[in-house]
């Protein structure tokens, strides 16, 4: 690792912040889901960085699990978006209130 691990962690934090902006500021549900993927990836980068720092590949396994959960989340989220859109076409998540409790 020629670069200090702090750089990787700060990069991960920057990516996470960009993802947070995407989740908060966008209304398109697909772009919101993609921003959530950005969040997952930022977390993964931090995990892999610390795995490398401590030369412990538990971090790799953890990142693997995160990737799996992200895949499951994307599949279910996209299914919900597709079904909701099929019932009532929308482009704005604020219009969707069918799941409101």
């Amino acid at each position: 690792m020629s670069v200090a691990p702090e750089y990787y962690v700060v990069l991960s934090a920057v990516l996470f912040s960009i993802g947070v902006v995407g989740v908060i500021a966008r209304r398109n549900p697909l772009i919101m889901l993609m921003s959530i993927e950005l969040l997952f990836n930022a977390a993964n980068l931090a995990l892999v960085t610390y795995a490398r720092v401590w030369t412990n590949n538990a971090g790799h396994v953890f990142a693997f699990l995160v990737i799996t959960v992200a895949a499951a989340e994307a599949a279910i989220g996209l299914a919900i978006v597709a079904v909701t859109f099929r019932r009532t076409p929308f482009v704005d998540v604020d219009e969707v209130s069918a799941l409101r409790g």
Binding site: V21, V61, F64, E73, L78
Partner: protein, 195 residues
């Protein structure tokens, strides 16, 4: 060193593009660039298997899923990609929240103990080096076998959930819906009302 900075700049640029693109398809392109750069970053961090998984699972599977859903939804009555964003009304609070997140994470990261092992542990590509496929496989299938099984369970639950959510209702319940004859119901209603 140079590779890190190139990848970092590319990743931040593609992330910004993903978040700020007008159409979801452009976002997918930005996300693809981001994922590929992240795979390069994993290689630099000696996580070979994760780099491959990043390409295969994220760029290969998840993004294709996104593209399929975009194509599916765009074939509907309304174009899917139009619509107002909350910007600039909420972009400022969002930026503030993101800046706070950034400061918090960075401060915590820089406060972690500095006794970091920075010795090279085998070069990337060696058979049994840290982070190689063999190394990862041993870790995954011996010490972390239970989490791996849980992963399989999560995927199964996700698949069943997707089928339940998006699938045809009849296919799930096993009920067979009678073919609907247009006009029949109206006539029945009319008869009932007439009586």
């Amino acid at each position: 060193m140079i590779a890190f900075w190139i990848l970092a700049v590319l990743m931040i640029a593609s992330a910004v593009f993903t978040v700020s693109a007008r159409k979801p398809v452009y976002s997918v392109i930005g996300l693809l660039a981001n994922f590929v750069c992240l795979a390069g970053m994993y290689l630099e961090l000696q996580a070979e298997f994760l780099a491959v998984i990043q390409i295969v699972v994220y760029s290969g599977a998840i993004l294709i899923l996104f593209v399929f859903v975009i194509a599916l939804l765009s074939s509907g009555v309304r174009p899917f990609d139009v619509g107002p964003d909350r910007a600039p009304r909420i972009v400022i609070p969002a930026a503030i929240i993101a800046a706070l997140t950034l400061i918090a994470i960075t401060a915590t990261a820089l406060r972690t103990p500095a006794a970091l092992v920075r010795t090279p542990v085998g070069s990337t590509g060696d058979a049994n080096a840290f982070g190689s496929v063999a190394d990862f496989g041993v870790a995954l299938f011996t010490t972390n076998l239970l989490p791996f099984e849980v992963t399989a369970f999560i995927l199964m639950v996700a698949v069943i959930g997707v089928v339940l959510i998006a699938g045809d209702d009849d296919a799930v319940t096993g009920a067979r819906r009678k073919p609907r004859r247009p006009g029949k119901r109206e006539s029945i209603v009319k008869d009932t009302v007439a009586r």
